[in-house]
């Protein structure tokens, strides 16, 4: 459930829109920032908060790719493999990550440290190939640079 601090933020967010349903996406973001993912219990809770049926909240959570309805590893490595990144060698970057993290796209490593995802264009085509960890973008990657980034998270 949302902490007192998160609830305060949620209250403020509701005032930004003429209808409370519009606060759903921002409040789901708050929930995810607090917990790292969005559980069924949380979806029901947020639904009650905004007077929305659980089915609506579930529909929204599963529609948008950035809401995690499963727990992730400590670091979420998102690798773009769309066209501009592909042309500049994203498959080698993905290979390096799979090998190093012991997880394929969609998987979390056995030690719970890494979750690897293959993602669509992140809007960093000028710095292709790229990966993102949280809000941080890492661009102009080489396999060596990728190794270094992952090492720095040890």
């Amino acid at each position: 459930m949302l902490t007192e601090e998160s609830l305060k933020k949620a209250e403020e967010i509701r005032t930004r829109y003429p209808a409370s349903q519009a606060a759903l996406l921002p409040i789901l973001w708050i929930a995810q920032e607090q917990e790292g993912w969005i559980s069924e219990e949380m979806m029901r809770y947020v639904g009650k908060l905004l007077d929305l049926p659980y089915g609506h909240v579930l529909g929204v959570v599963t529609f948008y790719s950035m809401y995690n309805s499963k727990k992730l590893g400590r670091y979420h490595i998102e690798v773009c493999t769309n066209i501009s990144c592909m042309l500049r060698g994203s498959d080698k970057i993905l290979e390096t990550i799979e090998h190093r993290c012991g997880a394929k796209p969609g998987e979390t490593s056995a030690d719970g440290k890494w979750t690897v995802s293959e993602v669509e264009c992140m809007g960093a085509c000028g710095g292709a190939p790229m990966l993102a960890i949280g809000e941080e973008y890492y661009e102009n990657l080489t396999p060596k640079k990728t190794e270094e980034i992952l090492s720095s998270l040890e």
């Binding site: 003429p18 759903l24 929204v60 066209i83 669509e120 809007g123 960093a124």
Partner: protein
Amino acid sequence: MERYILPEIPNYHTLEVYEEHGGYGALKKALGMKPEEVTDEVKKSNLRGRGGACFPTGLKWTFMPKQTTKAKYLCVNGDESEPGTFKDRQIFELNPHMLIEGTVIACYAMGITTAYIYIRGEYGKWVKMLQKALDDAYAKGYVGQNILSSGFSTNIVLHKGAGAYICGEESALMNSLEGQRGYPRVKPPFPAQNGVWGCPTTINNVETICNAPLIINKGWEWYSKIGTPKHPGPILVGISGHVNKPGVYEVATGELLTDLIYRYAGGIPNDKKIKAVIPGGSSTMILRGESIEGVRMDADSLKAAGSSVGTAGMIVMDEDTDLIRVITRISKFYYHESCGQCTPCREGTGWLWKILKRFESGDAHVSDIDLLMDIANNIEGNTICALGDAAAWPVQSMIRRFRDEFEKRVSKTPAARESSVAAAS
């Protein structure tokens, strides 16, 4: 050309430096004009939207009803998700105040008291950068109540998406803003009559809005002389793929594609030849390398060449590129991003991807080329929004312009064909 949207001035993203260089001067000027004079100025400038459709911006602003009891809204589209497009991110980072100034000017022109800037969820870091700039602008009285003592008030709210390409489509954006799944709406009614929360709404791209301060500051006559008369102004061109210096370049419209590739982006690594160019983001029709000679980055020139400006996100491919792999990847993207409302798109995008995978693995039959074309033709024009067209155009143009690439990848054995059909069904 002098750079206006991404000028080479250190710390231009800060309010102080922006003000030192005349920032918010256009807002002051606009507030001294009548709202309809502001719209008229933008209309006469011939500014056309930079989000992909090239629609005349001033004309769009005139669609907003003047007499209405309902609230009116502006949505600034920063959902930038079209593969090959990465220009708006530069604006959030390097020139956020121009976006804020343009947003307030647009609100004033249309009598709008709330604007939402919708930014894709992946740009969390850039949302924070823009929020910082917005807080500074509020503190200085450029946004909020009684702006610069003019009596005009408007608020700007940043709204973060959560990962869905379709939300860049204007009606999907409005549904997403309302807290729903990003499903495009059937038009009519158009947003200017019935938009977000059932109220009159205008949706403009981030880069488009940044042109408003420029037009107000220097006048429509000055602006309309930059670049191509029918599609004038500065334009941010993103160049990616096989070039030596990928990046966003601000140029006047009408720049030669070859100049963009060779002069700005430093040419092709190892001096290889260009096999193909996608001129304006992954949904625009692919051009053969030898056919880009003389083609310019503007609406008419690219249309004549059989493609479109789109978001001006150019993707360059050298002579060694496996175009079957390219089109398979593009089709996978549209399959992944189809919202699922319309059957031709929901089913068709998946079929395109599956059949293209047969070409990739060498299991396709020669008749699969026509099958691809047939599916693409049946998606195009048969869906609520343009995602269906966006999925069809790359496939249609790839087959039309590079049919030999498909023929080369057809299976040599009929047995492989049978097994691939069985595997796909």
